[in-house]
């Protein structure tokens, strides 16, 4: 157990005209160094908010209400990222913690060539002013080959590249400063299956070579299911389950996890077993009392559990490092497999 990020009671609020939305509600989780972690959840479940929280890029009307994010550096120091000033955090952002966003197409500056993106990024973080352009471009070419792009891309403008090539360019750019953690927010959504496979394959190989910690945020469990070590499930701003991917798949301890796994059509299984989760996700301004998944949960619909009366506290350890938010996890495990 070698943690790299310890998130403790993280709450992120957004002020709206009709009240405060807590988009990330009391999330506590430890990410281990060198793991590939997947966070799944539907739109509005708080995945991106959590990512922005870790990167400290929450902007008004959002704010971090409380919580700690402890980052263990390679040298063994422990830093609370949320206590850092904007200037101090800038030393870590992109040097140690980087990100690849969903709409990669829009991240690159259309008026700059690809090589200028690399030079600009390296120079901006080069506090000792030791780097030369030649050195940076050598490194850039090496990284581009790692994401299986040719060196000539360096002289292209973003509009000359396809969506998949841009996404790969950004992955290379995010690795430029040799970070510890890379957060990938929907890295393959809006890409074709073949391009999607390619990007995941590249990321897998990079992880094998560098041992970098990767955190995937996605709504589509099938993309990451076979790649990640640990998986977290978010619903309505809460982390409802977290554990080793095999355990979460074979023995889910939250009925939302089970429902989600069962709702994804695949190529191999028996299609008659696929079932949608009933109902719709609630409005974050009018959350149901007690358990937020209650109105859609089969345990509650069967009368096993009175979801309004549940007092959700911390996550419960169900063994083998699997955590759940559901107090009736034993019944979930009995019925879902």
């Amino acid at each position: 157990m070698d943690p790299i990020l310890e998130i403790k009671n993280l709450c992120i609020d957004f002020q709206t005209n009709r009240g405060i939305i807590r988009a990330c509600d009391d999330v506590s989780v430890n990410f281990n160094r060198g793991d590939i972690i997947g966070i799944i959840g539907e739109s509005g479940s708080g995945k991106t908010t959590l990512a922005s929280g870790i990167l400290k890029t929450i902007r008004a009307p959002g704010r971090i209400a409380r919580g700690e994010i402890l980052y263990h550096t390679q040298k063994g120091e422990i830093i609370d990222l949320l206590k850092l000033s904007e200037h101090e955090y800038a030393k870590h952002r992109w040097t140690n913690i980087t990100t690849v966003f969903q709409a990669a197409q829009n991240v690159l500056n259309p008026t700059l060539k690809v090589k200028d993106h690399f030079i600009e990024t390296a120079m901006a973080h080069d506090t000792d002013k030791k780097l030369t352009k030649k050195k940076i471009l050598e490194k850039a070419a090496m990284l581009l080959s790692q994401v299986r792009l040719e060196e000539r891309i360096l002289n292209s403008y973003p509009h000359q590249l396809s969506g998949g090539m841009k996404q790969r360019t950004i992955i290379a750019l995010s690795l430029l400063l040799e970070p510890d953690i890379i957060i990938l927010d929907e890295p393959t959504t809006a890409l074709d299956v073949i391009t999607q496979w390619y990007i995941i394959d590249i990321l897998r190989k990079i992880h094998e070579e560098t041992g970098i910690t990767m955190i995937f945020m996605t709504h589509d469990v099938s993309i990451i299911g076979s790649v990640v070590d640990r998986i977290g499930v978010m619903y309505c701003g809460q982390l409802v389950e977290y554990g080793k991917v095999e355990d979460v798949f074979s023995k889910p301890s939250h009925s939302y996890t089970f429902g989600l796994m069962n709702a994804v059509p695949s190529l191999k299984d028996d299609i008659t077993k696929r079932k949608a989760i009933t109902g719709y996700p609630p409005n974050l301004l009018e959350l149901p009392k007690g358990c937020r998944f209650g109105p859609r949960c089969f345990l509650s619909n069967d009368g096993v559990c009175k979801s309004e009366e549940i007092n959700i506290t911390d996550m419960i350890d169900v063994g083998n490092e699997q955590l759940t938010l559901c107090p009736h996890w034993k019944k979930v495990k009995e019925q879902c497999h």
Binding site: E42, S43, S162, G164, M165, D192, V193, I194, T195, Q196, W197, Y198, I200, D201, R204, H219, D220, V221, S222, I223, I224, G225, S226, V227, V245, E246, F249, S250, G259, L260, M261, A263, V264, P265, S266, L267, K268, D269, I271, R274, K275, A276, I277, Y280, P281
Partner: protein, 343 residues
């Protein structure tokens, strides 16, 4: 035209005969992009056909040709055996009502300034399916119940932005159903809907198919959902504007014939790692599509195909019968054998 042939043709609902569509490219590189090339397709009553392929392969163009949004550059589209551009006004209206589209982006498909009721009553009055507002509302109530929007009055008075993506997509489906169509062209209808709700929408379409015998063209790049909705239907695989394979869907996914479709099937990730491992390698030589303005000679897939031979570079393969379906590949038999032995 001989009457017998006429009678035979009337069997299928929609038929595409050798349809070509090309778009002129006005950029620096002059030329034309052929979005559809020699497309032949028949859609029977009550049939579900899933159309799959990468982005840019012409799936959406095909859908729009069927709905007469694009006019073919060459070839004809037949509705009950008659060319849609030679129909009388009354017949054309029947065709227009008979073929409805459901779009990917449900937010863009609804007028943001109108309530759902205002948007949905209009077509019913316009096509005289209802005499007045009350009658139209009665019809809408019926279909809203059908698509699972209960109680209907709660949704009818809302504006599009007040509804979730899944609810809006149901409204689009109700809108399409309300004019009693024969065919619904659904262009990526669930790709913007949350995963937990996708299945319920797919089920809904399957139910409509069975209950009203409505045919569906389901356009998608997601093989998983295609297999789900068209469980007893056909699949059609497109590559660069051409149909390259078509078969019954279960058989097609079990035994893909065209090397491109084999790669597509191999690339689909499986959520549960107990069901299948992450594919170590894809059977492709190159992952990038060729330049649309400068397509390769011969088989359009050969620069990416791992099984190509000289013939593939010279001659474009025609569709031929194989394994109960059709495929356009010179070496489909060898490809199928190879994948079997590898497994």
């Amino acid at each position: 035209m001989p009457s017998l042939e006429e009678g035979e043709r009337a069997m299928s609902l929609i038929e595409l005969n050798n349809v070509d569509i090309s778009f002129a490219s006005k950029g620096k590189k002059k030329g034309s992009v052929n979005a559809l090339v020699g497309m032949n397709l028949t859609i029977d009553e009550g049939e579900i056909i899933a159309v799959v392929g990468e982005s840019g392969c012409g799936k959406t163009t095909l859908g729009k040709v069927i709905a007469d949004i694009y006019r073919p550059t060459k070839g004809e589209v037949l509705f009950h055996g008659k060319d849609i551009h030679k129909l009388s006004k009354k017949e054309y209206q029947e065709y227009r009502l008979g073929v409805q589209m459901v779009h990917q982006d449900s937010y863009a498909a609804l007028n943001p300034n109108k309530t759902i009721a205002q948007s949905l009553i209009l077509p019913l009055l316009r096509h005289k399916l209802a005499k007045n507002n009350e009658e139209a509302l009665d019809i809408l109530f019926e279909y809203f119940n059908e698509v699972g929007l209960n109680p209907p009055e709660l949704f009818l008075e809302k504006y599009p932005h007040q509804l979730s993506g899944g609810q809006r997509q149901r409204i689009l489906l109700a809108r399409a159903l309300s004019v009693r169509p024969k065919l619904i062209v659904a262009d990526e209808p669930v790709s913007m809907v949350d995963v937990s709700l996708r299945i319920s929408l797919l089920n809904l379409m399957a139910k409509m198919n069975q209950k009203y015998k409505i045919s569906f063209i389901y356009i998608t790049h997601d093989l998983g959902t295609a297999r789900y909705i068209a469980a007893h239907g056909k699949i059609m695989v497109m590559y660069l504007g051409r149909m390259i394979e078509s078969n019954k869907i279960q058989e097609a996914i079990k035994n893909p014939m065209h090397p491109y479709f084999q790669a597509l099937v191999a690339a689909v990730p499986e959520a549960d790692s107990r069901r299948s491992e992450f594919a170590k390698e894809l059977p492709l030589r190159s992952l990038d599509m060729p330049d649309l303005l400068n397509l390769p000679e011969g088989c359009k897939f050969h620069p990416r195909c791992p099984y190509y031979k000289d013939i593939c570079m010279q001659e474009e393969p025609k569709l031929r019968k194989l394994n109960g379906g059709i495929v356009a590949c010179h070496r489909a038999e060898e490809c199928m054998k190879k994948t079997e032995t590898e497994e």
